[in-house]
Symmetry: C2
Subunit: 213 residues, 2 copies
DNA sequence: TTATATCACGAACGTGCGTTCTAAGTCAAG
DNA sequence: CTTGACTTAGAACGCACGTTCGTGATATAA
């Protein structure tokens, strides 16, 4: 579409709407727009708003006072919440949230921006307890963002529960024929080889790690 | 303040306002609130809104249609940007942004929420290049949020430039009498002792670490 | 010239919407 | 019981606000 066709007036209106919403938390009325942009007639404002709507730059709800909003970047669009479901300890399996058990009382949640993580429905967060994962460059108190089980590819950093050792670790996983190789993130450390795939339970893929100091 | 004094109706109103704004981009009218919360009289809604305002939960602009907004987390309020000023390499000093050199063309910036970092004016971000800081639990590609120089306290995780070695590392710093102890985050590694304080240049304090996988 | 489209002005209409007033029901303290 | 604070209800007032209509100015094409 041609986005160049904006007259000076329409640009002024658009700019004013943005500033007004930012400042007041609600959109301006036609008359407020008119006063700010030195337009004496409400019908002129209305005319230009219709123009802007046809251009796709704003939405309007007719017959509704202040019934307009900018289509462009609504601020909250760039933010989302991830439930913080618990702690991850080396000696216990990861507490993966069951899908039917919805966390409603989500006072415990982390707010993130899309810069960090592309949002998906089933993401969840865990706080690491203990220094057992230093070899994965993850320390005590760090928060890991995870995505449950499915579609784990070779090379992904995953949380696995090792049945025989009875412990959880974070490692890169590689399926090699019959056996599984678990590669520590620290290149100085040797990999673990698991001959029997039934001995490992992949609990999720690590999507991101956050550390506050 | 007492936040417990909300009646069921007031909570319903508050919840509806939030949902309405989320959905429509502008606040509801008194009558819309009334219809949604099964309140037949506008004055009752008005009464409860005044209650909520006195409680500090909403703001109202009188004589203005839809003139109300939630005081709690206004979405954009909880977000801020940090300039991504460059890369941090072990073999070079940290590129601390000079205060008079304002980064205006900040296409390179990271959006964060206040959950992660308490916002301050002079924060900046660097992307780590290379595996030279694994002992600080920081890997290649990680992003460190930093705050320049001043008020570095014992135990802070800082970026230091070691003059004699000509390298940058991230370590916890401790001033011990005349000498300086640099303690790796990995507890298995031995500390570095610097006898001559002029040999180290503290370039900033690490506030947070982010890793995308 | 006429025709069509774009843009601006002012006024009037009808309703949306915040405000205010009167009245009444509930409940705990006296 | 009465009193008073709190909450709900209904109605009326009056301005706020989106809409529509008539008018006119300007510009480009036939």
């Amino acid at each position: 579409m041609a986005e160049v066709k904006l007259s000076a007036r329409q640009e002024a209106i658009l700019k004013f709407i943005g500033e007004f919403i930012e400042e007041n938390g609600y959109p301006p009325t036609i008359r407020e727009i008119g006063k700010a942009c030195k337009i004496t007639s409400t019908s002129v404002v209305n005319y230009n708003l219709n123009k802007l709507e046809r251009e796709g730059l704003i939405n309007r709800d007719r017959e509704v006072s202040r019934g307009l909003r900018l289509t462009a970047q609504r601020p909250s669009e760039n933010m989302f919440r991830i439930p913080l479901v618990g702690r991850i300890v080396a000696s216990e399996p990861v507490p993966v949230p069951s899908s039917d058990f919805k966390i409603f009382g989500d006072d415990e949640a982390i707010e993130l921006t899309k810069d960090l993580v592309t949002p998906q429905e089933d993401l969840f967060a865990l706080q690491v307890q203990g220094d057992s994962m230093v070899d994965a460059m993850i320390g005590d108190g760090d928060i890991v963002i995870m995505r449950p089980h499915k579609d784990v590819k070779n090379g992904d950093l995953v949380a696995v529960w090792l049945k025989d050792r009875e412990e959880t670790t974070l490692k890169r996983i590689y399926r090699e024929n019959e056996r599984i190789r678990l590669q520590p993130a620290n290149p100085n450390m040797a990999p673990i080889y698991i001959e029997n795939p039934a001995q490992v339970r992949v609990q999720g893929r690590v999507v991101a790690v956050l550390r506050k100091t």
